[in-house]
Symmetry: C2
Subunit: 190 residues, 2 copies
């Protein structure tokens, strides 16, 4: 069913990422991945020795994507608001797909994860928070934003609004996410 053309390793990461966002780390198995790619269990193990390695790979790729996005946005004529909206857009897409963000997903399973993965998650979250904080600072300096909290605190507020917003909207409906999204933009605009 799935295209077995290009890079299988990449396909496994893609499927794994989707499963984490949709069901959570502890709710999917190697069988789910192998079935989705129409191959055997052992083939997945060939590419990723264990589930820990798979999760590490997924987090690495996610972190990479973020760094990539950061570089693309930086310096290239975007306003701070546009940068923030690009960030928010990621969560809007998740809501539309009935998924939650990877960070929120692994945060819920955090106590069940091996130490090496915990460290990686810490790095990932710190990076994302710093990116948002930096954008907020830039926007304030440019006069685009007018929030009163510190940039770090405001970044935490936005992050938590979005992360839990997608979680909540799976339960109560997408309109609640929209309310949150619009409000936090207003908040930051001042």
């Amino acid at each position: 069913m799935a295209p077995r053309n290009s890079d299988t390793k990449q396909e496994i990461l893609r499927i794994g990422m989707d499963l984490i966002k949709r069901y959570g780390y502890n709710a999917f198995s190697y069988a789910d991945i192998s079935q989705a790619l129409d191959m055997k269990n052992a083939a997945v193990h060939y590419h990723f020795r264990g589930k820990e390695d798979l999760l590490t790979g997924i987090l690495d790729q996610y972190l990479n994507d973020y760094v990539q996005m950061g570089k693309q946005l930086q310096g290239s004529g975007f306003t701070a608001l546009q940068k923030l909206e690009k960030f928010i857009e990621r969560y809007s897409v998740l809501t539309e797909m009935n998924c939650i963000c990877i960070i929120g997903s692994v945060a819920s399973d955090f106590n069940t994860l091996p130490e090496s993965v915990k460290v990686k998650i810490k790095e990932l979250v710190s990076l994302v928070l710093q990116m948002v904080e930096k954008t907020l600072q830039e926007g304030k300096k440019r006069g685009e934003f007018h929030f009163t909290e510190s940039a770090k605190t405001q970044a935490l507020l936005i992050m938590t609004n979005l992360a839990a917003g997608v979680q909540l909207s799976r339960i109560t409906g997408k309109s609640d996410y929209e309310l949150i999204r619009k409000a936090l933009v207003r908040q930051v605009k001042g």
Copy 2:
């Protein structure tokens, strides 16, 4: 090890609740519960036929606790700010215990849960949101609060700040939760 005195059913609910908050629904088993209470697997099944029944029981109790708290707070001379702080306190305790809130936990696992449980979660979340919304409205009317968003939106913002706040603070540290907590109180005070 555990006290087998009073009501075993209640003990099972207590342990199950703790496991959900600590590890998530899909990461604990009947064995975890039976071991904690120093009994056999089948004994847990005697009280709760299946994991679905157990989760239903846990959610019922959680909902009950909230209704109880709501009644206790209502009418009894508390200011709106005090009521809000009682609500926030629940999340502060969770942070201290290295746990996340039940709603956030089941929200992450939402797509893996049976339909009957999903319905119950919807009821639970709606109730909690309404309680916060009501408190916010009351506080605004009394001149305690001065937020500009609608009470419903403001309730969503607070809810998501807290729910994701405890999740995030397990990763980045408790100080981030404190930043969020203090900021959202300032926000609502105006």
